[in-house]
Symmetry: C2
Subunit: 120 residues, 2 copies
């Protein structure tokens, strides 16, 4: 499977809102995930830890709508853009999120994901 | 200057359509530029070579409109999205381009740019 094929299938799963299935299918066992923030979630290492982060996010956010754009592909990397209408349960404040993920592929698996937030 | 400050200023220059000024100000002398294509332009090395590629692009495309979104920032990397309404002079065929650039910063300069095209 080429990076292009992987990127397309992965992004299609996200577009059907199957984030968990996409991660289960394509995340490498030793994936490293970088958030654009300080604190304990800035870097997550390993498929299980990344899954826990995803579970936490889903439990703590109400998603009203999401637009997934991509994949944008070059070589062993691809980018997906996420525009989300979401309410974090901690604040109850409905907000718009605009971010991209940069994914790096090696041997048919995603070995790194890096999330970048709009600083407009 | 932080990567965030650089990313904002660089992207603001792109938004005012000053691609040449942005590159002149922030490209490292030994920047490496990756296009998502085969052929002689797949990899360009060095600020002067990258400038030649930019000049070639501008001479060979008529841009009717452009939307620049970003920067999306995390650590030493940032992403800019380009949506362009453009006519390549070679074909005369007006088309929509949708791509992102992934930029890597080191010591206050852009040392790598990687362009990724929408494979929707």
């Amino acid at each position: 499977m080429t990076t292009l094929e992987l990127a397309k299938d992965f992004t299609n799963l996200l577009k059907t809102n199957d984030h968990e299935g996409a991660a289960a299918k394509y995340n490498s066992d030793d994936i490293v995930s970088y958030e654009a923030m300080d604190g304990p979630m800035a870097v997550c290492r390993g498929k299980d830890t990344v899954k826990q982060k995803g579970d936490w996010w889903q439990e703590n956010h109400e998603v009203h709508g999401a637009l997934i754009e991509g994949p944008y592909v070059n070589g062993d990397q691809f980018v997906v853009r996420f525009t989300m209408d979401v309410t974090p349960k901690a604040t109850g404040q409905r907000m718009s999120m605009d971010e991209v993920g940069i994914y790096t592929v090696k041997n048919g698996k995603i070995v790194e994901e890096r999330f970048c937030y709009l600083e407009g």
